[in-house]
């Protein structure tokens, strides 16, 4: 059979971030199949699909549709070739009705005027044809997310797409909505449509896809038939690393409980549960790793503990005190440090100097300010001290940091957070996007803090990192703790299964049951 789509040797470098997002990627999709494209955040799957849809121009590579070489410079070209895309962030106009959104840019007219009635009928007929019921007259802003997604799918179908790209379609859906979506995708596949399904949730892959391609670090790792693979194998392909990092650790000296979460729940912006009923403890002198595929509630959990967002239920105790009402500053004064996931926007202010970045969490200390005035000299001395202690080669006190490399920027963050001898450290993806040398530095530093007696909560989507650093591993799946493992005895496979939403006791049964539940 000739493939519906074939992409050959696709390469794309992003000059601004010096990242090779796609590295000679080959990718092919059979007509009428549901093809899952999986990989971690930053693996390059969205870049690859954006190239196919004409949103990004590749540096090199070729695209074939039905064996014919084509050029796609603009989404309009993609639409002409029958490719449609449902974006992760919907491209809808909230105040418009369902019908107006679906027909946007291709409205039928009579004597130049729109006909609302006719539009509604057209959309009703379309919905009927694909068995995707919607109310054409409802305003999109009043619809639940799952229904908005349906509108997006209908919009693509109305544009005569034969190939549908769905970018992380389940990220925003409730479990019931996910089940409905799976049914919709199966139905479309039966009607002869080709569906490319971008995701990092492996259970969904198993339940909906015919074949699956795995990407990692901008490279295509391989393509498998779903019937001939398993979640553990896919998990290994997804998170495996060429270089296994080994970290030397001393025996753990476990102290008192420093942080405790009691039955906490947090909602996301849509009012859906991001974290539900999670409880755990972190002791002094131990590293607790939170493993999980990204988007399973890590961000919300970290923001709630650090005080950047509020809790909806339960309580958090720090050094034995309930801190639900405490501000970020108060928590930091009590000895909490935070290495955030996004150092460019959250962890640092690239528009200002090194000094001002280094004092953000403790400019209030009597060491750095008196009578409301900043003590410029001590601040500058402090900056020099941090630069020396953490050997941040390129940084100079009093100067900007915008031109520093990722590794040096992370050293600035780590240097600031660890220089106050914190009792508890949240480290959220502390090595994301760093080179091997910088990764080693961060790991070594975290272990030193643990040995000095700090409690550390390490959140990471890198399985290796969690395995190598943690004393205890909690696996987060869909906002719940799927399981707890002792790092000394846990295997990568066990963690991988929990990360995919599986169960340790009866691994195989659970997998099948999950699939059946989703299919029905």
């Amino acid at each position: 059979m000739t493939p519906a789509i074939e992409m050959k040797g696709i390469t794309k470098d992003f000059a601004s971030t010096r990242v090779r997002a796609n590295d000679h990627v080959d990718f092919s999709v059979e007509p009428g199949e549901v093809h899952a494209l999986v990989g971690e955040n930053g693996a390059g799957k969205t870049t690859l699909m954006s190239i196919l849809y004409g949103l990004i121009k590749p540096d090199s590579g070729e695209i074939f549709i039905d064996s014919q070489k084509i050029r796609i410079d603009h989404p309009n070209d993609a639409i002409q070739h029958g490719i449609g895309m449902v974006h992760q962030h919907f491209k809808l106009v909230p105040s418009f009705t369902v019908a107006q959104n679906i027909l946007l840019g291709m409205e039928p007219t009579q004597a130049g005027l729109l006909n609302q009635q006719q539009e509604n009928e057209l959309v009703a007929a379309l919905a009927e044809k694909y068995n995707l019921p919607v109310d054409p007259t409802a305003r999109v802003r009043d619809l639940p997310v799952g229904m908005q997604q349906r509108v997006e799918i209908l919009k693509v179908l109305e544009r005569k797409a034969k190939i549908l790209i769905l970018d992380e379609p389940t990220a925003v859906l409730t479990p019931q909505e996910v089940n409905e979506l799976v049914t919709v995708i199966r139905g479309l596949s039966r009607l002869g449509y080709t569906v490319i399904f971008i995701t990092h949730k492996l259970v969904e892959v198993m339940s909906v896809a015919d074949r699956v391609s795995v990407m990692r670090g901008g490279k295509m790792i391989g393509t498998k038939k779903v019937s001939e693979t398993s979640i553990p194998e896919l998990a290994r392909m997804m998170v495996g690393r060429e270089v296994l990092l080994r970290v030397k650790k001393k025996e753990m000296q476990r102290g008192d409980v420093v942080l405790e979460a009691r039955d906490i729940s947090i909602s996301d912006v849509n009012g859906l549960a991001a974290i539900s009923h999670v409880s755990f403890q972190v002791h002094r002198g131990e590293i607790v790793g939170i493993a999980g595929v990204s988007g399973n509630g890590q961000t919300e959990l970290v923001e709630a503990i650090s005080g950047m967002n509020s809790l909806d239920g339960g309580e958090i105790l720090f050094k034995g005190k309930i801190i639900d009402e405490a501000s970020v500053g108060e928590r930091r004064d009590m000895g909490m440090a935070h290495i955030p996931e996004d150092r460019m926007v959250v962890g640092l202010n690239l528009q200002t100097t090194l000094d001002e970045n280094l004092i953000v969490s403790r400019y209030d200390d009597s060491q750095f300010s008196r009578y409301g005035f900043l003590l410029m000299k001590t601040i500058s001395e402090f900056a020099e001290k941090v630069v020396r202690a953490f050997s941040i080669a390129a940084a100079r006190p009093g100067e900007g940091i915008a031109t520093l490399s990722g590794g040096n920027l992370q050293k600035v963050v780590v240097g600031r957070e660890l220089s106050g001898d914190p009792a508890f450290i949240i480290a959220n993806q502390p090595t994301r996007g760093l080179d091997v040398g910088s990764i080693e530095f961060v790991h070594k530093t975290l272990v030193e803090e643990r040995d000095k007696g700090a409690g550390i909560l390490l959140v990471s989507v890198e399985l290796d990192e969690v395995m190598a650093l943690s004393d205890r591993i909690l696996v987060l799946y869909r906002g719940r703790i799927q399981g707890e493992l002792d790092a000394a005895t846990a295997t990568e496979e066990e963690v991988g299964i929990l990360m995919a939403g599986g169960n340790l006791q009866d691994l195989k049964y659970a997998q099948r049951a999950d699939q059946q539940e989703l299919r029905s």
Binding site: P75, N76, I79, M85, H87, F90, K91, L92, V93, P94, S95, F96, Q100, L104, G105, M106, E107, T109, G112, L113, L114, K155, R159, S265, S267, V269, N270, G271, L272, A273, D312, G313
Partner: protein
């Protein structure tokens, strides 16, 4: 007594409608820009440009209607310049507006003085004020006739513009695309709508309408040009556009509100002790309230999601003891 009262009302309505016209034209321009997502704070300068260019062209052409056309073209070209600088050089629209508000207020007087000597305002006997037109039949309708008839062409045009803009924005594909661009540009662009073209159109139309509003002041109403003739009407127009939630009909009503408040404040001065300035405050305060209500609506919608989630949690908690025995 009753007769006197009715004359007073009709005259008030007439002058209110006249005073509303320049505001309405500029506000329609502001509304279409807001709908297209390009904040236009330069209505003031576009009005002033129209007032000046209009009277100048009327003088040199010897035809006041020609003056109106030239004013609109000038305003449209200024809008085009805005669109070019905005799209090509990513110039901030707010700063651009501030710069032009300053340039036009000074440059118009500069040119006036360069041409006609050191004068504070300028007029020429040869310039003809745009004449008022009585509409046959309509003028004979009792009560409504004197209210709807007897204005110059600019007033009628402004009403016509309300209807055309309503049809364009809400009954034609182009207008719907324009609104889509304003609300979610990337959504419009992914379905192949040319957002830059539509935003340029909005800026050009807005410039032409605001300039016509300005020309109403110089050759439709007074027959002279003075320094800073628009005198803040462009800013009132921005308020009217917001107050009328950028809908042509809403903008029409909002502009009438401002116009009547203006006319009323003049009358009030003659008849009562009530200070006119305070009457003029009314529409401004109302606009501020509208801004607050619009913001509140978004804020409530955002916090609702979270409140729902918390209520759900509490409900679960309450249900728990009942489930436990099972």
């Amino acid at each position: 007594m009753e007769g006197l009262f009715s004359v007073f009302t009709v005259e008030l309505l007439n002058s209110g409608i006249r005073l509303a016209t320049p505001i309405l034209l500029a506000a329609l321009g502001g509304a279409i820009c807001n709908q297209a997502g390009v904040l236009n704070l330069a209505l003031e300068s576009k009005m002033l440009l129209g007032a000046f260019v209009g009277i100048l062209a009327a003088y040199y052409l010897g035809n006041s209607y020609g003056g109106l056309l030239v004013a609109m073209v000038a305003g449209g070209l200024l809008g085009l310049l805005f669109a070019f600088l905005y799209h090509k050089y990513k110039v901030d629209l707010v700063i651009l507006a501030i710069a032009f508000n300053l340039i036009i207020v000074e440059l118009t007087v500069f040119v006036m003085r360069a041409l006609f000597g050191n004068v504070g305002s300028w007029s020429d006997p040869s310039i003809v004020r745009i004449p008022d037109i009585e509409i046959p039949f309509i003028k004979d309708i009792p009560l409504l006739g004197p209210i709807l008839s007897g204005y110059n062409i600019i007033v009628y045009f402004s009403w016509f513009a309300v209807i055309v803009m309503f049809i364009y924005l809400y009954r034609m594909p182009g207008g719907r695309h324009l609104r889509a661009v304003g609300e979610n540009k990337s959504a419009a662009e992914t379905v192949g709508i040319n957002a830059i073209l539509l935003q340029t159109l909005a800026l050009v139309v807005s410039g032409a309408l605001a300039a016509l509003g300005g020309a109403f002041l110089s050759i439709g109403h007074l027959k002279l040009f003075t320094r800073n003739m628009s005198n803040g009407r462009g800013w009132i127009a921005i308020a009217a556009a917001m107050f009328g939630v950028n809908h042509p009909v809403g903008v029409f009503l909002a502009s009438l509100f401002f116009g009547f408040a203006d006319a009323f404040s003049v009358r009030v001065q003659n008849v009562t002790e009530l200070p006119p300035n305070l009457v003029k405050l009314l529409p401004n305060v109302a606009t501020l309230l509208v801004l607050i209500i619009i913001a509140l609506r978004t804020k409530v919608a955002l916090s609702m999601a979270r409140r729902r989630f918390r209520a759900q949690l509490r409900a679960e908690e309450a249900a728990k003891p009942a489930e436990e025995p099972v």
